[in-house]
Amino acid sequence: MTGAATAYEDGDPHHLRGMQGSGVGHPGPAPKRIVTGYGFWIFILSDIIMFSALFATYAVLLGQTAGGPSGRELFELRNVAIETALLLISSFTCGLATIAADMRNQLWFHVTMALTCALGLGFLAIEANEFASLVARGAGPTRSAFLSAFFTLVGCHGLHVFAGILWLLTMMAQVVAKGFRADIQRRILCFALFWHALDIIWIAVFTMVYLLGSAS
C-alpha cells in the first residue's frame, strides 16, 4: 500500500509500479531505447515471416520448371560464395559501426559505415549481374514457375539490401548533421538490427536456393 501511495508523488498516476507483485514484472515504463528496439525487433520478425512465405512458394515450385532450365544448370556457386562473403563481412563492419556509435567516434563510425556500404553495393552488383545474365540466357522470371519464384525470393532480398543501403547513407548524413543524439543512436540500433537480419535471411537463401538447388 505504501508503494501505491508514493507512486502518485513519483508521477505514476496509474500505479504501474505498484503492480510488481501481480506479474507485470517491470517497474514503470521501459526506456525509449528498449521500446524502439523491441518494436523494430517485432517488425524484423514479421519481415522474416513474409520471407518464409516466399521460401515456401519457392520450395513448392522448385520442380515446376516447365521444361526450362533447373537450378543446377543455372547457378554459379563461385559468385554465390563471393556474395556470401561480402554480406558476412558487411555484417561484421556494421557491428563495428555500432560500437563506434556507442563510443561517439565520428571517424570510425563513418569508416565502418562506408565499408558496410561498399560491401553491400558489391553484393548488389554481383546479384544484378547474375540476374541480367539469367535473363540474357532466356531464363528470366517469365520462363517457368520455378524461375518466377526464384526471382521473387532472391530479388526481394536484394530490394531489402538496397533499402538498407539507402538507410545506411541516411544514417551517415544524420550523424554528420546532428551528431550522436539519443534519437540518432536509436535509429542506428534499428539499422544494425535490420542489416544483421538481412544477413540471416541470406543464410537461408544461399542454403535453400543455391546449395540445395545445385546439390540435389
Partner: protein, 133 residues
C-alpha cells in the same frame, strides 16, 4: 530507478541488438565478440559450400547437413551479432523470436506438407495438365 529494479529482483531488459553489460565491456572486448562471430560464421559457411560440392560424404546426407549448418549459422548470428541471449534481461526478445520461429515453421512446413500431399493425390490431373501443354 535502479533501486526499483533491484527491489524487483532482476535486471532491466535490454533492447534487441544491445549487449547487456552496457558500458561494462571495453571496446576491445566488444570487437572480440563480433570477431568470434565472424570467424564462426566463416567456418560454417565454408563448410556448407564445401559439403555442397564434395563427393567425400554420403550423398543423401548432404541436404540435412546443409540445413543443420544453416540453422547453426543463424544461431551464431543471433548470439554474436544481434546479442539475443537466454539471459533474464532478454526474455521479451527471445519470446518474440520464438513466436516468429513458430510461425515460420508453420508456414513452411504446412505449405510443403499440403502441396506434397496434393501432388501425390492429384497425379491424374497433373498428367492431364502436362499433356495439355
Amino acid at each position: 530507478m535502479t533501486s526499483q529494479y533491484e527491489h524487483a529482483g532482476h535486471r532491466p531488459d535490454v533492447a534487441p541488438g544491445d549487449e547487456h553489460d552496457e558500458g561494462g565491456g571495453s571496446v576491445l572486448q566488444r570487437v572480440a565478440v563480433y570477431s568470434i562471430g565472424l570467424a564462426l560464421a566463416i567456418l560454417l559457411t565454408a563448410t556448407s559450400f564445401f559439403i555442397a560440392g564434395t563427393d567425400l560424404v554420403w550423398q543423401p546426407s548432404i541436404p540435412v547437413a546443409l540445413i543443420v549448418l544453416a540453422i547453426a549459422q543463424m544461431g551464431v548470428h543471433l548470439v554474436f551479432f544481434l546479442h539475443i541471449t537466454t539471459g533474464p534481461d532478454n526474455t521479451n526478445n527471445v519470446l518474440a523470436l520464438a513466436f516468429g520461429v513458430l510461425i515460420v515453421v508453420l508456414v513452411m512446413g504446412g505449405s510443403l506438407w499440403i502441396m506434397a500431399n496434393l501432388n501425390q493425390n492429384m497425379m491424374p490431373t497433373d498428367h492431364m495438365m502436362q499433356m495439355q501443354r
